[in-house]
């Protein structure tokens, strides 16, 4: 046992484990391929189990507002409390749940972005030093990812709708930044501002900031595709996946580029600039004026 632990600490151990795992998968896969119907049956069982998991998660987290059949609910006066989820698609579920907007905690003008509920929190940290803790975290994360996938699948099965975009479609490196900038300024900046720092809407609603900690490229794509809350929908036939990738490329580059002129002052434009001019500029110069015009220090004089 001791020797094994020592091995595990070798620099090559990680690669070895990965290789071994790959080999094992290959063997298992090879073992399954000839008996394809058995595998299919197993897959089907697995899929049914996943769907059931999705249904249970739905009932636990979403059903109370959106109704047991995801048909939406209304209050006594017929005013909708929660919209129907039929046809919203996996993309919508993924956006709402992975950004923590759903399940909603309390009704307000707008559902804020927050930490996802533990069942779906795929952002938990796993870089613990202690192996047990790390293992547990990794397991939890994997479970959260599976939960999210199952829930997506469940809603998708109920009424169809836009699917989660593949990773290649949201890769910022693949987009045309120039086109993305033009499209962003024409269709997005009016709410989210030039640099994606957000802005005010009516009735206490707001366009959220699009900073690195706020939203991932996949979530940006999903938001455009599904139009969460007050945001309009930009479907794939209006803004093609290529256009969306361009917008993502523009946004990611913008938020990652440094401020060459110094502190960005929140990148919100002339309001913070004017404030800085008065507080820092005039403030420092008034202090200087007070110093210059203050009485001469007395101790210097020969008395």
């Amino acid at each position: 046992m001791k020797r094994f632990t020592a091995w595990r600490r070798r620099p090559w151990a990680g690669y070895a484990v990965v290789l071994a795992a790959l080999a094992a998968i290959g063997v298992i896969y090879a073992g399954f391929t000839p008996q394809s119907d058995r595998a299919e049956a197993a897959n089907a069982t697995q899929a049914a189990a996943d769907l059931e998991n999705g249904r249970q998660l739905y009932n636990k987290n979403c059903g109370s507002c959106h109704g047991l059949n995801a048909e939406g609910t209304k209050d006594a006066k017929g005013k909708p409390i929660a919209p129907s989820l039929l046809g919203v698609g996996a993309a919508s579920v993924d956006f709402q749940v992975s950004t923590g907007r759903m399940p909603a905690m309390n009704p307000g003008a707008q559902m804020p972005r927050k930490k996802p509920v533990p069942d779906f929190d795929t952002t938990i940290r796993t870089d613990y030093a202690e192996p047990e803790k790390r293992e547990a975290a990794e397991k939890q994360k994997a479970q959260a990812e599976k939960n999210l996938a199952d829930l997506r699948e469940y809603i998708q099965k109920l009424g169809g709708g836009p699917e989660v975009p593949p990773a290649s479609a949201v890769d910022p490196k693949g987009g045309d930044v120039a086109v993305g900038g033009k499209l962003f300024r024409t269709n997005c900046a009016q709410c989210h501002s030039f640099v994606g720092s957000g802005g005010a809407l009516t009735g206490g609603k707001y366009a959220p900031p699009l900073d690195k900690n706020d939203v991932t490229p996949t979530q940006i794509y999903e938001a455009m595709l599904t139009g969460p809350q007050a945001m309009p929908v930009f479907n794939d036939t209006t803004l093609t996946p290529k256009d969306k990738q361009a917008i993502i490329a523009y946004l990611v580059q913008t938020r990652e580029e440094p401020n060459p002129g110094g502190n960005g002052l929140g990148r919100i434009g002339p309001v913070s600039e004017g404030l800085a001019g008065w507080l820092v500029g005039i403030g420092l110069l008034v202090l200087a004026a007070m110093w210059i015009t203050a009485k001469k220090p007395k101790k210097l004089k020969k008395s």
Binding site: L201, P232, N235, T238, M290, A294
Partner: protein, 367 residues
């Protein structure tokens, strides 16, 4: 600065070094000489004597600030010549950042160090004493004024301008048109408004399309020029900025035409859409197009909220209702956004005519 602690503050604090006098002080606002000049009999600026040890210390401090300023300006030049130009000069955002930080930082340091040095010098080493000066009366005495008036009138008399009204009047007459000439010269600053503000490129494009036997002009996405099919834009809650097809290639002044023709296309859920009277067939299943130019002062009004169907202008927050012919709901705009008549041809969304009224801000002749 250590010497700042006890001395900073406005100088209208009591001057402790002021002389003590025995009389009640009359208001300085009254016109009397308050200050006894004999208190400063020395010639103006005669030096105070300094404590030589303190002065030496101050001198060293000032000198070190000047040296710091020297070092900073040298660093500025050295950075510029020796480092900022490496690999073929400054290119791109990272080098711009570096260069801004170095050049700006060194410049600020040089100026501030010099400023601090001079200030300490003034405060600690300059020995001039405060002095008093008379404020002289500004106005001339009556004699001078009278003398001037007399001279002036005499001159006028001598010149004959008072005696000969014909000369005076014809001179004025001659000058008047000359004064107007520069105004006339400004006429060609620009063309007359005519009807330019009443039409947009949509009208022109529809006319051209009809000449080719089509019913209207297609709507293309601003930025990608993709023509839109009805089926492309079928998602309720959708919004996109569109232009008439061909505007970039065919319009005479593209920017000017885009500034008038830019339009937002919105897919309002058909069950919530209330078409205005006489415009029942201007929409396609709730797909509706409004001018993007706000009727207040012309910003692009484009914040479409798909929950409330409000269109908000980000400049001055005029708010329009997309379901109700873009009626004004809030804010300083007085008129709804003009609506573009839409139709379908070969599955594509088309505009079947120009905006029925001038787009954008109001103007006097608009009516």
């Amino acid at each position: 600065m250590s010497d700042n602690n006890e001395t900073a503050g406005p100088v209208n604090e009591p001057r402790e070094d002021g002389p003590v006098r025995k009389v009640g002080t009359p208001s300085p606002a009254e016109d009397n000489t308050l200050l006894a000049q004999e208190e400063y009999p020395a010639p103006a600026g005669a030096g105070e004597e300094l404590d030589e040890r303190e002065a030496k210390r101050a001198e060293r401090i000032v000198a070190s600030f000047f040296l710091l300023a020297f070092a900073a300006s040298v660093a500025f030049i050295v950075y510029f010549i020796g480092w900022s130009g490496r690999d073929g000069g400054m290119h791109g955002i990272h080098r711009a950042k570096e260069s801004n930080l170095w050049l700006g930082g060194m410049m600020a340091l040089a100026f501030l160090a010099m400023a601090i040095g001079v200030t300490i010098w003034v405060r600690r080493l300059m020995t001039s004493k405060p002095i008093v000066q008379e404020r002289h009366a500004l106005e001339a005495d009556t004699g001078t004024r009278r003398a001037f008036t007399e001279a002036f009138l005499e001159g006028a008399e001598d010149s004959g301008i008072t005696k000969r009204p014909l000369l005076r009047r014809t001179l004025l007459l001659a000058a008047a048109p000359l004064g107007l000439a520069p105004l006339v010269l400004l006429r060609d600053l620009g063309p007359l408004p005519e009807k330019k503000l009443r039409h947009t490129y949509w009208g022109e494009a529809v006319k051209a399309a009809k000449a080719k036997g089509r019913r209207g002009v297609r709507l293309v996405v601003d930025g990608t020029n993709k023509p839109l099919k009805v089926s492309d834009f079928a998602s309720p809650g959708g919004m996109i900025t569109v232009l008439p097809e061909g505007i970039e290639e065919n319009a005479h002044h593209v920017m000017n035409e885009v500034a008038k023709a830019v339009t937002i296309l919105i897919n309002v859920p058909a069950d919530q859409f209330k078409p205005a009277k006489g415009r029942e067939n201007w929409h396609v299943n709730g797909i509706v197009a409004y001018s993007k130019i706000c009727t207040h002062v012309g910003c692009p009004a484009a914040l479409y909220e798909q929950t409330t169907h409000h269109i908000l202008c980000p400049c001055h927050q005029s708010t329009f209702d997309a379901t109700d012919a873009a009626k004004v709901v809030f804010g300083p705009a007085a008129r709804p956004l003009p609506q573009l008549p839409l139709g379908v041809e070969d599955g594509y969304l088309i505009a079947t005519g120009d905006f029925p009224e001038p787009i954008g801000p109001s103007f006097w002749e608009r009516g």
